[in-house]
C-alpha cells in the first residue's frame, strides 16, 4: 500500500458513528489520516448523489456509517 494510499470520504451519523469517531480520539487510538469526515444528521440524510459527487471529486472510497 506504500505507493498509493486510498482517499476516503466518510459520512458519519451525528448520533452514533460521529460519536464513535470522537471516542476513538478520546481513547487515543490511531488510524491513517487520509480520511475526511462529513457530519450528517442521520444516515437517512444520505443521498446517492453525495456518494457519486465524492467519487467524482477524487475519493477512492466513500464510507457511510450510521
Amino acid at each position: 500500500m506504500s505507493e498509493k494510499e486510498p482517499k476516503i470520504l466518510s459520512f458519519l451519523c451525528n448520533w452514533c458513528s460521529y460519536g464513535a469517531a470522537d471516542l476513538a480520539g478520546v481513547s487515543r487510538m490511531e488510524y491513517p489520516s487520509n480520511i475526511r469526515v462529513i457530519r450528517i444528521p442521520c444516515t437517512g440524510r444520505m443521498s446517492p448523489k453525495f456518494i457519486l459527487a465524492g467519487l467524482r471529486q477524487g475519493a477512492d472510497a466513500v464510507w457511510v456509517s450510521g
Binding site: M29, S33, I35, I38, C42, F50, A53, G54
Partner: protein
C-alpha cells in the same frame, strides 16, 4: 449541580426543607477546567480505577470516564503521606519518589529543593525517619526513600539546575555558621531576595556535615557542590570568622545587618570525667573527626580505643581504621541492642574489622611516659530501664581490668561551646548551654536575633537543622517585613488515618541494596563506600510506593495546566458546607454492587479469571481496560469458554444476608453472554448457572429464548460447589451439582459472578439521618399505592434505593418521583427558576459572508500535533474569511467573551470554530453567537482534536494538512448557511387520559393536582379497571378499600372531567394541539387537548387448557380473588389446592412472561394457608419469578409448607375433572417421577393479554409490538412516553405489571407530560426539513417513511394536496429529503448544496 457532595443534615418539613451539604474539595477550578487532560498526562501517580472496577488504572488527577459530566477533572487527596509527615523538614518524599518512578529526575530535584537545598548530602547521611513511617513495610520493607533522594541528586547537576526568580532586596542578614541550619536559612533568605552573608569559624563550609561526618560517608565534593549551588543565589560565605572571636552580634548590627541567625552548632565534646583524661593520646571524637576531615591528622597507629556507642563513635573508629590504626576497639557500656548508632553503620564497622566490646565502662586512663598506654575499665551488667527506656548498666564489683592501647577517643556526645557569646549580650542559654528560643518563631531572647540547629536543639540529625533553618528564614523575613512572627504557624498535626488502601493482590519484594566498594578498598582510604542506586534499582524501589496520599503534590499538573484551572491555590482547597432551602427531596442514591470478597469457594480474592459482572461489563466495553477485546485477565488470551454464576449476593441469607432477588442479574448475564459471543464468535461456549431464570420484563423472555436458541447459550439449573484454578493458572475448574443431583467438574476460562445490588452502609446512615424507614433488605420503605414516597412527607425515592430494579423501572420511578414532588410544590412552580435575557438578533440578509475562523490549541492537545499558527494563516487565505485567530482554549469563558467582542467589532456574520467535537461544544459556541447578536445557525464547527490531533499524533504534518482541509470544508459550508427560525407553537393546557383503571386515574389525578384540566375517558361504566377484581397486594393491602379511596379522590377533583361509557372515535392534530372526538351514547363531542396519556390497560387470558370450564373449582387467578373477596366458606374447608403457573404465558404463541402471576399465586397460596393451615397447597411452576423483595413471599410460602413442583414446557401437568374430583398429573422435578395429586381446587395463573387496539394506535401514530403492547419511545430512557410527541404511556397497555408499578408509571407519564405542558409554548429546531411545494409531486413517500409523522398532505390553500412538514414534529433527520424524488425537500442546516460544498472542497483534500 453539586458534585463531590453528600447530605449531612436535613431539617424542616415537606414543602420547606433546610439541607446541609458537605462538599469535598475538587482541587481544580470546575469553571475553568476545559477537561483537556494535560494534568493527568503530567501526573506521576496511578491507582486502580474504580470506574474500571479495578481492572484499569487512573491518575490522581482524573475524570472517571471520557464522557463524564461535568467534564472537569478532579484530584483525589487523602491524608498527608506518612513519609512526608515524618520528616522534620516535611520534604515531600512521596512526590519525588513518584517522579523518580516516571524518570522525571529534574522535576524530582525541584520538589526536594522546595524545602531542602542539600539533597545529595541529606540523601547520604539522613537516618530517614520517612522510611520508619513508610506503610510499605506492612507488605515487605519500607521504600528506600533516602537513597532515592541521593539518586536524584546524583542524576541532576544541582549547580546547573534552574534558579527561582528572585526579586532582590536591600536588607542584609547575617547567618552565623555554614552548617545545615545556616546554609538552609541562607538559601531561603536569598530566595526572598535578602543580601545574606554567612560567617563561618572554620576554613570550610558544611559545619558538622564537613567536619563531623567522614569523607567515606559523605564525600566533600558532594557537599561543596551543593554549597556552591546555594552561593549561586548570591549568598556570601566568610570563612575563618568566628562569632565571639572575630565578630559579635552587636558589631554585625552596627554593620547594617538587620537580623542575625545563630547556627553555630555543637562542636564541643562531652567529657568522660575520669582521671587522666588530659593525657596525651586522649582526643575527643569530635576533634578527631574534625582534624581528620581538615587533613590536619592523617594517620593513626597502634591500638585505638573508642568509647561510646553513637554514630560519632562508629565514624571515629572507621576513620581510625582508614588512617592506619593496627586495630580498633569500641567500648560501649550497654549491649548492641541499645547502641544509638545506625544499625547498618555498626555492621559496616564490624565488617571492616573493628571490634566492639559491650558492657564496658572506662574508669581511668593509664599513662606511661606521659602518654596513653591503656584504659582501665569495669565490666557492667544491665539493670532496670532508665527514663529513656533503655536498661541502665550497672557495674559488676571487682571486674576492673586494663585495655592496653595507644590512643583513646571518647565519643560520648557533643555540646554547645558557649564561647560564641563573648561580647554579645541579651541571649539566654539553657543549663546545657543551648540557646533559648521561641518554639514557633525561633527568635532568641534578643529581638531580631534568631537561632537554630544543634546550637539551639542540642545535637540532632542534619535534616532537623535544615528544618530549623527554613523555619528561621521565614521568621527573619517576617521580622524584616514587620509582620507577626507567629501568625498562622501553630504546629498542626495532620490526620494520619485515611490513606490509599494497600492493594490486596500485592507481591512482597526484596528491598534494593546499593552496591558498595569491597572491604579491602574501604579500609585503605576515604573513598565513598556506597555507590548509590543504578537507574534500574531506583525505578524498582520508586515503583513500590503505595501512594498513601494519592495526589503527591508534586505540582507537575500545575505546570501542565494552561487554563489556570489547576494552581497552587486550588491545590489548597478545603472541603466546605453548603446550605440549601428546598421544597422537596428526591433520593436516587443508587446501589453498591455486592462485593464477593471472602466467598472463598468462588475464589474471587485469589483467582484472576474469576471476575464480577461489573468488571466483566468493563472487559466487554470498547472504552474499557482491554479496549473491548475479550481476553482472560490472567494471560490476555482469548477465552474459549465462559460461565456465569447467578444469585451471588442475592437470594442468600447464609453468606450475605441479602435474601431478596436483585431483579437485574438474569438479564445482564444473558446480555453479557450474547455480547461475548458477538465479540468472540460462535465458537465461544457460554453457560449460565442459575436457580430460577427470571426474565419478567418487556421483551426479556423473548431475548432469553433467542439466547437459548439462536445463540446456543447453555442454561444450567444447578448449585455451584467450588471454583478452583487449574495447574497452569489460566483455567478454572468449576464443580457443581446438576439438576438431577450429579456432581460435575467442568473447565472454564473465565467465570463471571453475577453479583447482586445492595444498599451500602453510608446510605443506611443517610436514611437514619433523614429518619426514613427501611425494608428488611435496607431499601427505602414505600407503599404499593404510593410507590415513590418514603415514610417521611416530602422525601421521595427512586431507582435502586427503592428496591433492586433495572434501568426502565428506575427511569419510570424517577419521573414518578419528580411528579410526586411536582404535585407537592405545584403552588411554587416557576418561583425559583430564572429566565434568560433575550439579545436582539442582527439582520444579516443580503450581506456577503464575512467569516471568522477560530482555531483552538486546546492547550497542547491540538497544538502539540497540529501546527496551529500555519492552520490559522491558511484559514485567513480562504474565501470570505475576514478574520482568523488561534486561542489557547477556545471554550474558556474569557475566550468566549473575546469572541463576542470580535464578532461585533469585525461585523462577522458567519463563524467557524476548529476545535474539539461539536457533540459536546457546539451549543456553547452557538450561545456565544447568540450573545453577539448572530443567529446561532450561522455557525459550523469542525473537529481537529478528537478526529485529528488525537488520532494522528505521530503524523503532525498530515494532521496539519487534515486540519486545513477540514477548515476549508467548514468555511465552504458556513458561507452557505442562512439564519434559521425556530418555530414557536403554543401548547393547549388541557390533558386527556384514556383509561379509567388505576394507571389512568393516577395519571389524571397527578395532572389535575399540578393544575391542568384533565379529561379521563373510560369505555366502561365504572372506574377501577382490572383492579376491581383484585383481593390483596403483595404487601397485604386490601385492594378494594384502597381502590375506593383512589376513585373518591379522582371524583372529588374539580380539574378532572370523567367521561364514562365513552369511546375515542377520531384524533386530529399533533403535540400541543390535539382534537379528539369522543363518542358516548350515540353522541359525539370534540375535545381540544395538548397531550394524551394512553392507559388503556390489558385483559386476562381466558384459558382453554387444563380443563378450564369443566369443573366449577378450576378457576383463573382473578376468579380466586373474587372468592377471597367474597370470603367463600369453601376456602376454609378444602383439603388441597393447586396453582398452575404460566397458563397462556411463556408459550410459543405468547412468548412473554406476565410478570405478576408468580407473586399473585404465592400471595394467594399463603392466604389459603392462613385460612386453613392444614390445607395442602401446591404450586406448579416453571421458574418462580418473585423479583426484588417479593422473594420474601416465596421464602415464606416454602417455610409454611406450600409445595413447589416444577414442570417444563414439554411436560406440562394434566388436569382432569371427573365429577367433583380434580386430579393433577405432573412429573416431580426432584424425584423425576410422575405424581398424581387430588385437589379440591385448581387456580390457573393466566396470562395478561393486551387489547392490541389498532385503531387507537393509528390515532396517535404509535406502534405496537408483536404481542400487542404499545411500544414506548425508548425501552430504557423513554419508557412512559411515545416517539410521537405529546403522547404518553402507562400501566398494562405498556406491559403486565403490578399495582405499584402501574402507579409509578402513571405518575411518570404525568411528569413527562408536565414537562411539555409547563413550557406553554415550544420551539422547533431550526435544522428541519421544508418542502418546496412548487417541486412537490405529491408522491407521498415522505409521508409514509417519516418515523415522526411530520410530513402530511396540505388539506387546503394554494398547495392543497402537496406535502408539508410540521416543523414541530420534524426531528431533522433528513430521511424525507433523501427520499424525495423531486428534490422538493430541503433540510435546513444540512441542505444538499451545503453538503455538496463540503464534498467539492475535497479535491484539494484527501
Amino acid at each position: 449541580m453539586h458534585t463531590l457532595s453528600e447530605v449531612t443534615e436535613v431539617s424542616g418539613t415537606a414543602g420547606n426543607f433546610n439541607v446541609t451539604l458537605h462538599e469535598d474539595a475538587r482541587y481544580i477550578d470546575i469553571n475553568k477546567c476545559t477537561g483537556c487532560g494535560d494534568c493527568a498526562a503530567a501526573c506521576p501517580v496511578s491507582l486502580p480505577s474504580l470506574f474500571e472496577q479495578g481492572l484499569g488504572e487512573r491518575k490522581a488527577t482524573y475524570r472517571p470516564y471520557a464522557q463524564a459530566v461535568p467534564g472537569a477533572y478532579s484530584i483525589t487527596k487523602k491524608d498527608r503521606s506518612p513519609c512526608t509527615n515524618a520528616c522534620p523538614d516535611h520534604v515531600n518524599a512521596h512526590a519525588y519518589v513518584a517522579l523518580v518512578a516516571q524518570k522525571k529526575y529534574p522535576e524530582a530535584l525541584e520538589v526536594i529543593k522546595r524545602t531542602l537545598p542539600l539533597p545529595g548530602v541529606i540523601g547520604r547521611v539522613c537516618p530517614h525517619p520517612c522510611e520508619d513511617a513508610c506503610r510499605r513495610q506492612e507488605v515487605d520493607a519500607p521504600v528506600s526513600i533516602c537513597t532515592l533522594k541521593r539518586f536524584v541528586a546524583d542524576q541532576v547537576d544541582i549547580e546547573n539546575s534552574p534558579i527561582p526568580e528572585i526579586t532582590p532586596r536591600q536588607e542584609k542578614v547575617a547567618v552565623i555558621g555554614a552548617g545545615p541550619a545556616g546554609l538552609t536559612a541562607a538559601y531561603f533568605l536569598a530566595i526572598d531576595g535578602f543580601q545574606v552573608t554567612i560567617f563561618e569559624a572554620l576554613p570550610v563550609g558544611g559545619g558538622m556535615l564537613r567536619v563531623g561526618i567522614p569523607d567515606y560517608r559523605l564525600p566533600p565534593a558532594v557537599l561543596e557542590k551543593e554549597i556552591r549551588a546555594i552561593q549561586r543565589l548570591g549568598v556570601k560565605i566568610q570563612y575563618d570568622t568566628a562569632l565571639g572571636r572575630d565578630i559579635t552580634v552587636d558589631s554585625l548590627m552596627a554593620d547594617g545587618f538587620e537580623s542575625v541567625y545563630l547556627a553555630v552548632g555543637a562542636h564541643a565534646s562531652m567529657k568522660l570525667n575520669i582521671p587522666g583524661e588530659d593525657t596525651e593520646g586522649v582526643i575527643t571524637g569530635v576533634r578527631f573527626l574534625r582534624e581528620s576531615a581538615l587533613y590536619e591528622r592523617k594517620q593513626a597507629s597502634g591500638h585505638v580505643v573508642i568509647v561510646g556507642g553513637g554514630d560519632v563513635a562508629i565514624d571515629a573508629a572507621r576513620s581510625a581504621t582508614r588512617m592506619g590504626a593496627d586495630n580498633v576497639t569500641i567500648l560501649y557500656r550497654r549491649t548492641r541492642a541499645e547502641m544509638p548508632a545506625r544499625n547498618e553503620e555498626i555492621e559496616d564497622a564490624i565488617e571492616e574489622g573493628i571490634h566492639i566490646d559491650f558492657l564496658m565502662a572506662p574508669q581511668e586512663v593509664v599513662a606511661e611516659n606521659g602518654k596513653v598506654s591503656g584504659l582501665k575499665c569495669l565490666r557492667m551488667e544491665l539493670g532496670q530501664p532508665d527514663e529513656s527506656g533503655r536498661r541502665r548498666p550497672v557495674p559488676i564489683e571487682g571486674s576492673e581490668f586494663v585495655v592496653a592501647c595507644d590512643m583513646i577517643i571518647p565519643a560520648i556526645g557533643q555540646r554547645v561551646n558557649p564561647a560564641f557569646l563573648e561580647g554579645t549580650s541579651g541571649i539566654e542559654l539553657t543549663k546545657w548551654n543551648t540557646i533559648v528560643t521561641d518554639t514557633i518563631s525561633c527568635e532568641t531572647s534578643r529581638s531580631g536575633v534568631f537561632a537554630g540547629g544543634d546550637a539551639q536543639s542540642g545535637p540532632w540529625i542534619a535534616i532537623g537543622a535544615v528544618a530549623a533553618g527554613r523555619r528561621a528564614a521565614e521568621s527573619i523575613r517576617r521580622y524584616i517585613d514587620k509582620e507577626d512572627l507567629k501568625q498562622g504557624r501553630d504546629p498542626i498535626e495532620p490526620p494520619q488515618k485515611n490513606f490509599n488502601p494497600i492493594p490486596e493482590k500485592i507481591e512482597p519484594q526484596f528491598r534494593e541494596q546499593m552496591a558498595r566498594i569491597p572491604v579491602a578498598e574501604r579500609v585503605s582510604g576515604f573513598t565513598e563506600v556506597e555507590k548509590g542506586f543504578t537507574e534500574e534499582q531506583a525505578l524498582t524501589e520508586a515503583g513500590k510506593c503505595l501512594n498513601c496520599m494519592v495526589c503527591c503534590e508534586c505540582f507537575e499538573c500545575v505546570k501542565a495546566c494552561g487554563a489556570d484551572a489547576l494552581t497552587l491555590a486550588t491545590h489548597m482547597d478545603k472541603p466546605h458546607s453548603t446550605e440549601l432551602n428546598v421544597g422537596a427531596i428526591i433520593l436516587a442514591p443508587g446501589f453498591a454492587p455486592y462485593d464477593p470478597s471472602g466467598l472463598d469457594f468462588y475464589g474471587f480474592d485469589t483467582l484472576p479469571n474469576v471476575v464480577t459482572s461489573m468488571q466483566y461489563e468493563r472487559m466487554l466495553s470498547a472504552s474499557g481496560p482491554f479496549g473491548g477485546h475479550l481476553v482472560r485477565p490472567s494471560d490476555h488470551q482469548e477465552p474459549k469458554k465462559i460461565g456465569w454464576i447467578q444469585c451471588v449476593g442475592s437470594r442468600d441469607q447464609n453468606k450475605c444476608n441479602n435474601s431478596y432477588c436483585s431483579s437485574v442479574c438474569c438479564m445482564y448475564a444473558i446480555k453479557e453472554a450474547v455480547i461475548s459471543k458477538e465479540h468472540a464468535g460462535e465458537d465461544l461456549e457460554c453457560a449460565i448457572f442459575f436457580m430460577d431464570m427470571r426474565t419478567p420484563g418487556k421483551e426479556f423472555e423473548r431475548f432469553y429464548e433467542t439466547a437459548k436458541g439462536k445463540h446456543g447459550i447453555r442454561f444450567e439449573r444447578s448449585r455451584i460447589h467450588t471454583i478452583e484454578q487449574t495447574d497452569d493458572g489460566n483455567q478454572l475448574t468449576v464443580r457443581y451439582f446438576t439438576e438431577d443431583g450429579r456432581l460435575v467438574d467442568e473447565i472454564f476460562d473465565i467465570m463471571v459472578l453475577s453479583i447482586g445490588l445492595e444498599t451500602p452502609p453510608d446510605l443506611v446512615d443517610l436514611a437514619r439521618r433523614l429518619d426514613i424507614d427501611l425494608t428488611p433488605g435496607n431499601f427505602a420503605r414505600t407503599d404499593i399505592f404510593n410507590p415513590v414516597a418514603t415514610s417521611k412527607d416530602g422525601i421521595f425515592v427512586c431507582g435502586a434505593f427503592q428496591g433492586p430494579k433495572d434501568i426502565p423501572q428506575s427511569v419510570i420511578d424517577a419521573s414518578a418521583a419528580a411528579s410526586a414532588a411536582g404535585e407537592l410544590l405545584a403552588t411554587a412552580r416557576n418561583t425559583m427558576t430564572k429566565t434568560k435575557e433575550i439579545i436582539p438578533e442582527t439582520n444579516i440578509v443580503g450581506e456577503r459572508p464575512r467569516i471568522g475562523v477560530f482555531v483552538c490549541k486546546c492547550g497542547s492537545n491540538i497544538a502539540g500535533v497540529v501546527d496551529v499558527p500555519s492552520v490559522r494563516e491558511y484559514a485567513e487565505s480562504l474565501p470570505y474569511v475576514d478574520y482568523a485567530a488561534d486561542n489557547m482554549y477556545t471554550c474558556s469563558q474569557d475566550t468566549q467573551d473575546m469572541m463576542t467582542q470580535i464578532i461585533k467589532e469585525q461585523h462577522l456574520n458567519r463563524v467557524v470554530v476548529a476545535a474539539c467535537t461539536p457533540k459536546t461544544h457546539e451549543p456553547l459556541f452557538q450561545e456565544t453567537l447568540v450573545n453577539a447578536g448572530l443567529n446561532k445557525y450561522l455557525f459550523e464547527m469542525t473537529n481537529i482534536r478528537n478526529q485529528d490531533s488525537w488520532v494522528h499524533k505521530n503524523n503532525p504534518e498530515l494532521a496539519t494538512e487534515k486540519a486545513k482541509d477540514l477548515i476549508r470544508m467548514a468555511v465552504a459550508k458556513v458561507a452557505l448557511m442562512e439564519p434559521l427560525v425556530e418555530t414557536e407553537l403554543s401548547i393547549n393546557q388541557t390533558a386527556m387520559v384514556l383509561g379509567g383503571g388505576i394507571a389512568g386515574m393516577t395519571a389524571a389525578q397527578s395532572l389535575a393536582v399540578q393544575g391542568y384540566e384533565t379529561h379521563l375517558i373510560e369505555r366502561n361504566d365504572y372506574l377501577g379497571g382490572q383492579a376491581v377484581n383484585l383481593f390483596h397486594t403483595s404487601q397485604g393491602d386490601k385492594v378494594q378499600e384502597k381502590l375506593a379511596d383512589v376513585i373518591r379522590t379522582v371524583e372529588a377533583n374539580d380539574n378532572i372531567k370523567i367521561h364514562l361509557n365513552t369511546e375515542l372515535t377520531h384524533v386530529d392534530g399533533f403535540v400541543g394541539n390535539f382534537v379528539s372526538t369522543l363518542a358516548s351514547g350515540g353522541q359525539s363531542e370534540e375535545l381540544e387537548h395538548g397531550i394524551a396519556v394512553l392507559a388503556t390497560g390489558a385483559t386476562p387470558y381466558i384459558p382453554t387448557e387444563y380443563a378450564y370450564g369443566q369443573a366449577p373449582n378450576i378457576l383463573t387467578s382473578l376468579e380466586l380473588d373474587q372468592k377471597l373477596i367474597a370470603d367463600d366458606p369453601m376456602l376454609k374447608t378444602m383439603n388441597a389446592a393447586a396453582f398452575i403457573q404460566c397458563v397462556g404465558s411463556r408459550e410459543p404463541d405468547r412468548p412473554y412472561c406476565s410478570r405478576v402471576c408468580c407473586t399473585h399465586s404465592i400471595e394467594n397460596a399463603l392466604e389459603l394457608k392462613k385460612r386453613n393451615p392444614d390445607m395442602n397447597v401446591y404450586i406448579l411452576y416453571r421458574d418462580i419469578r418473585t423479583y426484588g423483595e417479593k422473594e420474601y413471599l416465596y421464602k415464606a410460602a416454602r417455610e409454611q409448607g406450600v409445595i413447589f413442583i416444577r414442570y417444563s414446557l414439554n411436560n406440562k401437568p394434566v388436569v382432569s375433572a371427573t365429577g367433583g374430583a380434580i386430579t393433577l398429573k405432573v412429573t416431580d422435578h426432584v424425584l423425576g417421577l410422575p405424581v398424581e395429586l387430588s385437589v379440591d381446587m385448581v387456580t390457573l395463573a393466566t396470562a395478561i393479554i393486551p387489547y392490541a387496539d389498532e385503531k387507537l394506535a393509528n390515532f396517535f401514530k404509535v406502534p405496537m409490538n408483536e404481542d400487542g403492547f404499545f411500544i414506548e419511545k425508548h425501552a430504557k430512557l423513554g419508557p412512559s412516553e411515545f416517539a410521537t410527541d405529546g403522547a404518553f404511556l402507562c400501566g398494562m397497555a405498556h406491559y403486565p405489571k403490578p399495582i405499584d408499578e402501574s402507579i409509578a408509571q402513571a405518575k411518570a407519564a404525568s411528569s413527562r407530560a408536565v414537562t411539555l405542558l409547563s413550557q406553554k409554548t415550544i420551539f422547533s429546531s431550526g435544522t428541519i426539513a421544508q418542502v418546496d411545494p412548487m417541486k412537490c409531486a405529491a408522491c407521498g413517500v415522505c409521508v409514509s417513511i417519516c418515523p415522526y409523522s411530520a410530513p402530511s398532505f396540505a388539506a387546503e390553500g394554494r398547495f392543497a394536496g402537496k406535502a408539508e412538514i410540521n416543523p414541530v414534529l420534524c426531528k431533522g433527520c433528513g430521511l424525507c429529503v433523501a427520499s424525495c424524488r423531486s428534490g422538493a425537500i430541503h433540510l435546513k442546516g444540512f441542505d444538499t448544496d451545503q453538503i455538496f460544498s463540503q464534498i467539492f472542497e475535497l479535491d484539494a483534500a484527501v
